[in-house]
Amino acid sequence: MSLPGPKPRSNLEELLEGIWKQNPVFIMMLGMCPTLAVSVSAVNALSMGLATGFVLSGSTLLVSLIRNIVPREVRIATYILIIATFVTVVDYLIQAISLAIYEALGAFIQLIVVNCIILGRAEAHAARNPPLRALLNALGMSMGFTIGLLALGAVREILGAGKLFGISLFGPDFQPWVVMMLPPGGFFVLGAWLLFFNWFNRRKTPVASDKPAQGHAHV
């Protein structure tokens, strides 16, 4: 006897899943450590998003390619090895592209190896899907993560420094809201975005008027 499975997703749905429906930052709330720590500016956020996206896409593709020859007893060790390899590669690449970004992101580049989005996707998706679907899903998740980081980084940079991508927006008289550049600012902005996402999703899902609303908080 077999259980009825969910309807297979199209390639487009696979790609879009991580961007909105299962956004790693705002819905799944994964990878919060780099999200809060490096999102002090839009450039940092974008760089971190791209670096994580590179590791996620590369490791997902490789895990999917070798999924049929990896015994389940050693699968986690194999995934970690692959993820650590792509993190090392991205570490060298960022140093080669810009030392300023490398210094700004600091240890959080190496810490991508423990970002749970990546191992989570390898185990839950890439190990069970063919390479194209796995890659599309990873690209969507990468975009979702980058958008999440950018949403935080842009707001924090605008409010905390009066700039966006380093370009001054309000002139020299702007008084920066310094707390936005500090850790509490990260929590404030994340909280505001989560509030928006939850409000938006509830608005889209009509609740039966005769029943009390069911809590949907993901926090």
Partner: protein, 230 residues
């Protein structure tokens, strides 16, 4: 998408040790090739980037400098820098103008600040025997408070002629470079702190004092050998 699980499906057979070892070996070999290729492929660009960043930092604190040579100051004299810093040696940078004349010496100092280590690059004037420039290379200090060490003009004025002469015993500085409360600087070897950012200010002073205290006794006796670019 994978096929839905069958409840009556038999449990998978455990993999043999050979299969596990073969897979891990294969993946490790592949990962090794990827890492080494990435290292080899980026090494040239990384080295070039580091040189550009260093030159930019040195040129900022030593006006007129056009090229930088890296040296180790050791007990046996000054040697061109190559590889890791030997035990007891201190790395420094000699900055030259277009004519090849020595414009100044730069070295790095580091000390624990409020949030993390504060790393600074300071310029040493070998003629006047003073520290005459300071730039921040790395810090994670509080924005708007500690990070003023890089921009506060009153604080940066401390580094126009900060005394760093050697004492009667040429193995130590004549006076410890120290940070004092804002407005109470009385001696040329003192640094006026930034009010509200005392911990970060002190990290700058401590970093420079420790570094200059180790570097200058090794460097000053051999300054003559640096007069011209190598």
């Amino acid at each position: 998408m994978s096929a839905p699980p069958r409840l009556d499906a038999p449990l998978p057979q455990p993999a043999s040790s050979t299969a596990m070892l073969r897979t891990l070996g294969l993946v490790a070999g592949l990962c090794g090739i990827l890492i080494v290729s990435a290292y080899q492929g980026t090494q040239e660009a990384v080295t070039a980037n580091r040189k550009i960043a260093l030159e930019r930092a040195v040129f900022q604190i030593i006006p007129g400098a056009q090229r930088v040579d890296e040296y180790f100051a050791t007990r046996g004299g000054l040697v061109p820098a190559q590889g890791n810093v030997p035990d007891g040696a201190v790395k420094f940078y000699a900055a030259y103008d277009t004519a090849g004349k020595l414009r100044g010496i730069a070295a790095e100092g580091a000390a624990r600040g409020y949030a993390d280590t504060v790393r600074v690059l300071y310029a040493y004037d070998p003629v006047r025997r003073v520290i005459n420039g300071m730039g921040v290379i790395y810090m994670r200090e509080t924005p708007g408070i500690g990070d003023k060490i890089a921009t506060d003009s009153a604080f940066l004025r401390n580094f126009q002629a900060l005394d760093a002469s050697l004492g009667a015993d040429p193995q130590t500085l004549a006076n410890t470079i120290r940070v004092v409360k804002q407005g109470s600087k009385q001696h040329p070897w003192e640094i006026d702190a930034i009010s509200g950012a005392t911990i970060t200010s002190k990290a700058v002073g401590r970093g420079i004092n420790d570094s200059a205290g180790r570097l200058l006794p090794l460097l000053v006796p051999h300054l003559a050998s640096l007069k011209e670019a190598r």
